[in-house]
């Protein structure tokens, strides 16, 4: 139980995908202008991440590793994830139109989002079992959501702030993102203190 909490805590805070690993920066900067779109995007990312791990972990464990084909991970994972997301999109469009309208526009955006690919590759690299892999994935997704929601708040403040002309727009967003990222460094010591070094 302690191990699971440690994995979750690490994935959400210490190794936050966006703010510590710098994965998935594109949606982080692109869709964080409003809180509701940020939330919608995050939910879609969590969903796709979990689904991807669900499928790629068995593929790696039962197809690639026994045959010594670890180096094919990236290409196979991209293929499988893209297909999967496309399938989910079809299914949602057909059977759950309201959910499709809420998530649909974000789904194609994240088919090969590096955060999604990153988490499945990381799960394999660290040698997680299936349970740990799913928890780590959930943590990564929640971490993404946390970063998105926090940054949406920061951006709302930026809108009514008096910013010098040459910093307006993307430059100030990047600077604030780096400051938020810097603050997440504080968690690295905390994880070690709570769960011991790992």
């Amino acid at each position: 139980m302690k191990a699971i909490v440690a994995v979750l805590f690490t994935a959400v805070l210490t190794e936050n995908f966006v703010l510590a690993k710098f994965l998935g920066i594109c949606p982080f900067l692109g869709v964080s202008k409003k809180l509701d779109t940020a939330l919608g995007m995050s939910v879609a990312v969590i969903f796709v991440m979990l689904l991807s791990t669900l499928v790629t972990w068995p593929i790696n464990a039962y197809l690639l590793e026994p045959n010594g084909l670890d180096y094919l991970q990236t290409i196979i994972f991209i293929l499988v994830i893209a297909t999967l997301v496309q399938l989910v999109e079809f299914t949602l469009k057909r059977y759950l139109p309201p959910l499709y309208r809420a998530l649909g526009i974000y789904l194609p955006l994240i088919t090969t989002n590096c955060a999604v690919l990153g988490v499945v590759v990381l799960n394999v690299d660290r040698g997680y079992g299936f349970g740990d892999a799913m928890v780590n994935t959930l943590g990564a997704g929640l971490g993404f959501m946390l970063a998105m929601v926090m940054f949406a708040g920061v951006r709302k403040r930026l809108e009514s702030a008096d910013i010098p002309d040459f910093l307006k727009g993307l430059p100030i967003s990047l600077i604030s993102a780096s400051l938020v990222s810097l603050s997440f460094l504080g968690f690295s010591g905390m994880a070690e203190g709570m769960f011991g070094a790992h």
């Binding site: 094919l72 893209a82 297909t83 469009k93 009514s160």
Partner: protein
């Protein structure tokens, strides 16, 4: 031989994915209503939401499904309504244009200032400091947040108050949401109307503004169609009853009732 297995594996996975997607696309294909596409084409595509549906696509879908009334698209106006009617085989109906209207006439000269404001030149920012720098808590702050969001260049700020040109306004209501003071209302313009350029229902308006409604009720007496009521110290005109005769504008001592005409 070592290269054969990986090549076959990737090819097999790719093929499997391809077949799966093709089958799924066939099975899950949604019958697309061509009329929806055609109606969507006829709408302006600004996704302003003035019709009350989620974007132009949402309205087109509801229109084609028969669950929405035609002519709700304010930016598209008569052209879009007629085009949609023709596509769907509905009778053409007369399109009633609307316009947005700023319910404040408190220019820099007419309204007193409570303090000197030197911050960010935006209404959204200014309103956070004691609700704005004007002595009247309802007054237009004149930084033009509404003008900034207007797609049709219909709003300009004159002497510190926003003014809307009814000839350009398409009543998309984007500015209604942008005004932190909630001063902008949409007028239903089936004929010329009169409207009150003030939103202050408090007593003592005369002390802080020269063009505010002081609640004297003279307009109430002058109105022949009984459209005007003065519930508090602020005249309210019922647009459904107003005939736009302009009698109230003549008697108003502060000239805060004005005629609105779409040319």
């Amino acid at each position: 031989m070592t290269i054969l297995l990986p090549v076959l594996l990737v090819a097999a996975v790719g093929l499997l994915c391809g077949i799966l997607l093709t089958v799924a696309a066939r099975l899950m294909a949604m019958p697309v209503d061509e009329r929806v596409e055609a109606v969507l084409e006829a709408l302006p595509g600004t996704n302003c939401g003035a019709c009350g549906f989620s974007g132009c696509a949402g309205y087109a879908e509801e229109l084609a499904g028969g669950s929405a009334a035609n002519g709700l698209c304010a930016p598209g106006g008569a052209d879009a309504a007629d085009a949609a009617a023709d596509i769907l085989g509905l009778p053409r109906t007369a399109f009633v244009p609307n316009t947005a209207f700023v319910r404040c006439g408190g220019s820099d000269a007419a309204t007193a200032s409570a303090f000197a404001y030197t911050g960010e030149r935006s209404c959204a920012a200014a309103v956070q400091l004691h609700g704005g720098y004007r002595a009247c808590p309802y007054a237009c702050l004149g930084f033009g947040d509404c003008a900034g969001v207007c797609t049709y260049d219909a709003i300009c700020v004159v002497d510190g108050t926003a003014r809307i040109d009814p000839a350009r306004c398409r009543a998309c209501a984007t500015c209604v949401a942008a005004c932190p003071k909630g001063l902008i209302q949409i007028l239903y313009m089936d004929s010329p109307k009169t409207a009150v350029r003030c939103r202050n229902p408090d007593k003592g308006t005369a002390k802080i503004c020269r063009t505010g409604c002081i609640g004297c009720r003279r307009c109430m007496g002058a109105c022949e169609s009984g459209a005007i009521t003065v519930p508090e110290n602020l005249a309210e005109i019922d647009p459904a009853l107003c005939t736009g005769c302009g009698a109230c504008t003549q008697v108003c001592p502060t000239k805060c009732i004005v005629k609105v005409i779409i040319t």
